[in-house]
């Protein structure tokens, strides 16, 4: 029972990161109907920026802030300098360009920083606190929950309460009408990319210290897990991404706890396949009437 409790809490902590990363995918999907397959590589690039800044200044938090900033900036640059130039008439084009971007970013990171694992520091202890003899959450887990919670709440606030959020939603739902109403639709799309990429960078900062360390491919499995979470929740649904992320986190925690960590990639892919076969629209997809 103790073990079950521990795995559940550990899974939720892992799932919170997947939720954030899935949320980033959903943001870009809603803004521009693109699944950003380069998000993992972009987030790793931001994490390398943090590594450099921390190495130069000795401060984890300066590095943390630099990663978020680099994430925001990289998202805007990818939109303006790459995605805007892609012919979107076929949905396959942006996907292929995104995959090309993955190769490019990972190759450049490998050339600059090398392909060995670099140590990634956690700002708080990862040793679980015990309550009444049972191991529960570590201070780092609490930090993860708090950060993801704050970012999630901030996104909800931006999109539902601010003028810029209203513009972003309008631009996504009805670009032509929005332009007639004075909304800079292209600018809103770039802002969406920046926000999503910033959230992706945050997720990378949170998850990389829990793995083997910093590496150009460090986010690959996280990306697949988060993509599965986003599809599970329905690519159009931000709450779906959060629930999907927590669900995938729990599942993977149980799989690694009860069946062995080697099975995690297999479990993720099996889940993705199952969702795509049984409910490709996701659990939270709005019920669409059948087209006649």
């Amino acid at each position: 029972m103790d073990r079950f409790l521990f795995l559940t809490l550990d899974g939720l902590s892992r799932g919170a990161v997947y939720a954030a990363f899935a949320l980033a995918l959903v943001l870009i999907w809603r803004a521009g109907r693109i699944v950003n397959f380069a998000q993992g590589a972009m987030a790793v690039a931001a994490a390398y920026v943090a590594y450099s800044v921390t190495a130069a200044t000795g401060s984890y938090w300066l590095g943390f802030g630099a990663a978020l900033l680099a994430g925001l900036l990289l998202g805007a640059v990818v939109d303006v300098a790459v995605m805007r130039l892609v012919d979107h008439r076929s949905p396959l084009n942006p996907v292929i360009v995104a995959l090309g971007l993955v190769l490019l970013i990972q190759a450049v990171l490998g050339m600059v920083y090398g392909n060995e694992y670099l140590p990634a520091r956690a700002p708080f202890s990862r040793t679980a606190l015990t309550v009444g003899g049972t191991a529960v959450l570590s201070p780092y887990d609490l930090f993860v929950f708090a950060t993801v919670g704050v970012v999630g709440a901030a996104l909800v606030w931006i999109f539902t309460r601010t003028a810029i959020g209203l513009r972003m939603r309008a631009a996504a739902f009805a670009p032509e009408v929005s332009r007639l109403l004075g909304v800079n639709v292209g600018g809103m799309l770039t802002l969406g990319w920046a926000l999503a990429s910033g959230v992706g960078a945050l997720a990378a900062m949170l998850v990389i210290p829990t793995g083997l360390g910093l590496h150009p491919y460090a986010m690959d499995l996280v990306f697949v897990s988060a993509f599965t979470a986003a599809v599970l929740g329905g690519l159009d649904s931000p709450p779906g991404a959060v629930v999907g992320g927590l669900g995938v986190g729990l599942l993977l925690s149980y799989v690694s706890g009860y069946a062995g960590g080697d099975l995690i990639p297999l479990a993720v892919l099996a889940l993705l396949l199952t969702v795509l076969l049984l409910r490709p629209g996701g659990l939270f997809a709005p019920v669409t009437a059948r087209r006649v």
């Binding site: 209203l166 309008a170 739902f173 009408v177 332009r179 007639l180 109403l181 004075g182 909304v183 639709v185």
Partner: protein
């Protein structure tokens, strides 16, 4: 009343290589209502889309208050006082009534003026005030019409471009809409260019009738003349 608010000179436009508008001239004096009428496919909607910058003219020019609109991006037009209510009205179904309306006034820097404009719209269209929190796609056709018009008015335009405001609406709602346009013209000096299939209700409210045929302006005349002169009506409108 001042001079012409909107002028088009030798305007041509089309989609790809297919020309739709050819050599269109029109003048809409400030504070008047002009109705563009004509058969399906005469180029009425294309004209409106060209005037609001959604379609780039291939020749000719468009003047607003005597100033050339060339090179003005669509999203800047609202700041110059042009509101375009598109075909199908463009209510954003995923947003609430209030959000749609706020969007109409969002380009304005002055927050209090924008809030006041919203209140005025709610006074003008009371059913909208009762349905603030409803989503756009939950509204009836008449309510959508109100919302589209209200959203355009919330931006305090000088020129209102309306595409088929009577489409799919009950005659009573059409009559209310037309009466409202007349009231706005008289009270606020609003200038309106509307495209209509429904010739009778359009001419009933308009000061000027612009008859389009095959992408050209066949006739521009005072609406009263088009209404009363049976020969003219027969020749150009077929009834």
């Amino acid at each position: 009343m001042g001079g012409d608010l909107l002028t088009a000179e030798a305007l041509a436009a089309g989609y790809g290589p297919v020309p739709v508008l050819r050599d269109v001239d029109l003048r809409v004096p400030s504070g008047t209502i002009a109705a563009v009428i004509g058969a399906n496919g005469a180029g009425k909607t294309t004209l409106l889309r060209t005037l609001s910058g959604m379609l780039r003219p291939t020749a000719g020019r468009i003047l607003l208050d005597g100033r050339d609109l060339r090179g003005t991006p669509v999203e800047q037009l609202v700041r110059r006082g042009v509101a375009h209510v598109p075909e199908g009205r463009g209510v954003i179904g995923e947003l609430t009534v209030e959000e749609n309306l706020r969007l109409g006034a969002l380009w304005r820097r002055d927050r209090t003026a924008a809030a006041r404009a919203l209140d005025e719209v709610y006074q003008l269209f009371e059913p909208l005030a009762r349905r603030r929190r409803h989503l756009g796609h939950q509204l009836s056709g008449g309510e959508r019409q109100m919302l589209a018009l209200g959203r355009a008015l919330a931006g305090r335009p000088r020129l209102l471009l309306l595409d088929e405001p009577s489409l799919g609406l009950a005659p009573r709602v059409v009559a209310q809409t037309m009466a409202l346009l007349r009231q706005l013209r008289d009270d606020t000096g609003l200038t309106v260019l509307l495209v209509e299939q429904n010739v009778r209700s359009a001419l009933a409210v308009a000061d000027q009738g612009i008859v389009m045929s095959l992408g050209r302006v066949a006739l521009a005349a005072p609406a009263a003349r088009l209404r009363d002169d049976a020969d003219l009506r027969h020749a150009y409108l077929g009834f």
